[in-house]
Symmetry: C2
Subunit: 342 residues, 2 copies
DNA sequence: TTGAAAGCGCTAACAA
DNA sequence: TTGTTAGCGCTTTCAA
C-alpha cells in the first residue's frame, strides 16, 4: 500500500498541495470549507504526515535525546519516566540511549542524536574522566543541552541535581545524633562528583561534631551488594573500631546489613546502617533500612520543565545556565534508630 | 554556525556532491585518494550527516518505537534495557513512549511512531479492551510489529512472552507440595491475558491436586502493597479458612506478608506467601519472599533478536508470526518453605 | 483565500 | 571513477 501524501489529497480535491498543507497545519488563511474537505479526505485516505519531510524542511524535530548510564536501575528509569511524561505532554518524543557507563557509548549516542537533529539533549554523564570534548560539539551546534543528577560542573550547562553534599551531611549527622561515633563510609571508586560530594558531606559532618575521620574506614569499590558484604566483613575481621556504616548506595548498605545480622551483630543497637537512594526494598527489610531519598520522579519532571522553559527562550546559549538543586530527603528507619539508650 | 552539508565539502574539494556522498557512504566505486580527502575535509568542517534527509530519501530510519505502560516499574524498565542494548548494537535508535495504561496514549504513541516512519514497533499493550483497531493501521502500513509480555493473541503478531499459565501453575503447585491446602489468590482487575493465565494456572493446579477452588478466596483489584494488605486483612477478618496466599505480583504479596507478620501469624509455618515478578526486595525481606522470575532482561534481548531476525526477512507480513514463550523460573524462598513438618 | 515555486540535504539510477 | 539528474514530502515565501 503506497503511502498517502498531501499531493494525493490535493489531486482528489482538485486544489494545490500547498492548500492541503495549510489546511492540515491549521493555517489562518484558509476557508472553513476547504479545510473540512481536506481533513475529511485525509482521514479517508489514511493520510499520515511524514515527520521526516516536515522536520527536514522546518528544522525542528520535536524530538529530544536522553542519555543515561542504564535503565536497569530504579533511579534512572524513574527519572526517565518523569522526563518522558512531561515532555510527551508537551508534544515531544524521546530518543533513548544507554551508555553502560562507557564514554565511547556516550559519544556515539550524542553523535546519533546530533545526526538525528534532535531539538535538545538531556544527559546524565558516565564518569568524569578525560575526553569529554564531544560535549562541545553540542554547544557548537547550538543544540540545547541539560544535565541531570550527574553534571559536569566545569561546563556552562544548566542542570538539575540533588544536593549530594547536604545528603552526605544529613545522613552522617543523623547517625551521629543517634549516638554512633565511629562511622565507616562505603563509596564508589568511580570518579563522579555525586560520590565525592556525598563523601565531603560525610567528612564535614564528622568534623563539625568533633569526630575524627579515619582513612581506614573509607572503602571504595563498585557499589553492589557484594561490595557491601566484602567491605563490612573486612572491617570486622580487621577488628576496626566502628559502630556504623554509611553506604553511598542502598544495595551496598544492604550487603553490609546482611553480614552484620548473619554474624549476630544487632542493628541498630550495636551497629547503625544507612543507605542511599531509597530503593523499594529498604522499607521492607528487617530492620528497615535508613536512607536518603533523591526525589527521582520530581527530578525528571523538573528537568523536563527546565528544558521547556529554556528552549522557549530564543538564546539558549546566551543566558547563564540555570542550575536547579533539589533537597535530598532523609528517611530515618530502624537500621539507624536506637530506640533504647545504649 | 551554519551546518555543514555534503555540498560544502564538495565545494571545498572541487568535486560534485555525489562524489562526496559516495565517499561518506563507503561506496565501492570511489578512489582511495578522493575518499581520504573527503573524510579529512568532513572532519575538518565538522560535518555531520543529516539523518532526516537521508531517511526521507532512502525510506529507512533505523529507528524503532517502543511502547510500554510505564518505565517506573522494574519489570518494564528492565525489558527496555535489554531491548535497547541489543538494538543499539545493531545500529538502531529507540523512540520511547509510555502509555500509563491508557489506550488513548497508546494510540497517540503509535501515531507518532508511524509519522516518524519508524522501521518497526515493539509494544506491550495497555489492557485488552475494545478499540484496538489502530493496531491494524500498523499492518496496513506494513510496519513490522512485535509484542512482548502483554500480547494481543487475536492479532497475528509475533511476540515474546513468558508462559504465565505455567507460572501460575508451578507457583501454586509449589505451595501445594509444601503442604498448603487452602490457597487464596490476589490478582489484578485489569483485563489482561497475563493475569488471566496466571489465574488459570492456579485453578488447574488446585484441580490437579484435588483441592477445591473457593471463589471467596480470589481477590481482584489494583495490584499494590495496599491491595495486598487490604485483601489479606479482609480474608482474616471474615475468618476464611486459608493457609496460603499466591499474589500475581510481588508488592501485593509483600503487603499480605506485612499484615500477617504484624498480626503474629507465622510465615511460612502457619501461612505460606508467594509473589510474582522477582522484585529486588523479595530476596532481602524476612522471611524472604518466594516468587516467580520473568527473565526480564532476557525477554528484552529475545524480543530485539526476534525483531532483527524478522525484519531481515523481506516479507514480514507474509510469514506466520513467530511466538516465543519463555519459561518462568520458580524462586522458592522462605515465605513458602516449611522446613519443619507442620 | 489559493497557487506557484523554491529548497531542506540526501540517495540512487543513469550517463559519461 | 565521477558527474548529472531526479526526486523523497514537506514548509514557506511571494504572487495572484
Amino acid at each position: 500500500m503506497k503511502k498517502t501524501t498531501i499531493h494525493d489529497i490535493a489531486r482528489e480535491l482538485d486544489v494545490t498541495f500547498s492548500t492541503v498543507a495549510r489546511a492540515l497545519n491549521d493555517h489562518p488563511a484558509i476557508s472553513a470549507a476547504t479545510k473540512a474537505a481536506v481533513l475529511e479526505t485525509a482521514k479517508r485516505l489514511n493520510y499520515q504526515q511524514n515527520k521526516l519531510a516536515s522536520s527536514l524542511r522546518s528544522g525542528r524535530t520535536n524530538v529530544i535525546g536522553i542519555i543515561v548510564p542504564s535503565l536497569d536501575t530504579s533511579f534512572f528509569s524513574s527519572v526517565v519516566h518523569g522526563i518522558e511524561k512531561v515532555m510527551n505532554e508537551n508534544g515531544y518524543s524521546m530518543l533513548l540511549y544507554q551508555t553502560g557507563e562507557s564514554l565511547k557509548q556516550e559519544q556515539k549516542g550524542i553523535e546519533t542524536f546530533l545526526q538525528s537533529r534532535v531539538d535538545g539533549i538531556i544527559s546524565s554523564v558516565s564518569g568524569e574522566v578525560e575526553g569529554r570534548e564531544f560535549y562541545e560539539q553540542i554547544s557548537k551546534r547550538q543544540v540545547p543541552l541539560l544535565f541531570f543528577d550527574r553534571a559536569i560542573n566545569e561546563l556552562p550547562v544548566p542542570s538539575v541535581t540533588i544536593n549530594d553534599y547536604q545528603a552526605g551531611f544529613v545522613a552522617t549527622e543523623h547517625l551521629i545524633k543517634e549516638g554512633y561515633k565511629h562511622i565507616a563510609h562505603f563509596t564508589s571508586d568511580q570518579n563522579l562528583t555525586i560520590f565525592k560530594e556525598r563523601f565531603r558531606g560525610y567528612r564535614d559532618a564528622l568534623q563539625q561534631y568533633g569526630l575524627p575521620m579515619n582513612e581506614d574506614m573509607i572503602c571504595k569499590g563498585r557499589l553492589s551488594l557484594e561490595f557491601g558484604k566484602d567491605s563490612v566483613t573486612r572491617l570486622l575481621e580487621q577488628e576496626k573500631n566502628f559502630d556504623a556504616v554509611f553506604a553511598a548506595e542502598d544495595y551496598t548498605a544492604m550487603g553490609a546489613l546482611q553480614v552484620l545480622l548473619e554474624r549476630g551483630i544487632k542493628v541498630p543497637q550495636q551497629m547503625g546502617v544507612m543507605g542511599f537512594a531509597n530503593e523499594a526494598f529498604g522499607a521492607f527489610v528487617t530492620p528497615s533500612l535508613s536512607t536518603v531519598d533523591q526525589q527521582t520522579i520530581r527530578m525528571g519532571e523538573e528537568t523536563a520543565h527546565l528544558f521547556l522553559k529554556l528552549i522557549a527562550n530564543k538564546d539558549f546559549y546566551g543566558t547563564t545556565p540555570e542550575r536547579i538543586v533539589l533537597d535530598p530527603i532523609l528517611i530515618p528507619r530502624h537500621s539507624s534508630q536506637t530506640v533504647e539508650p545504649r
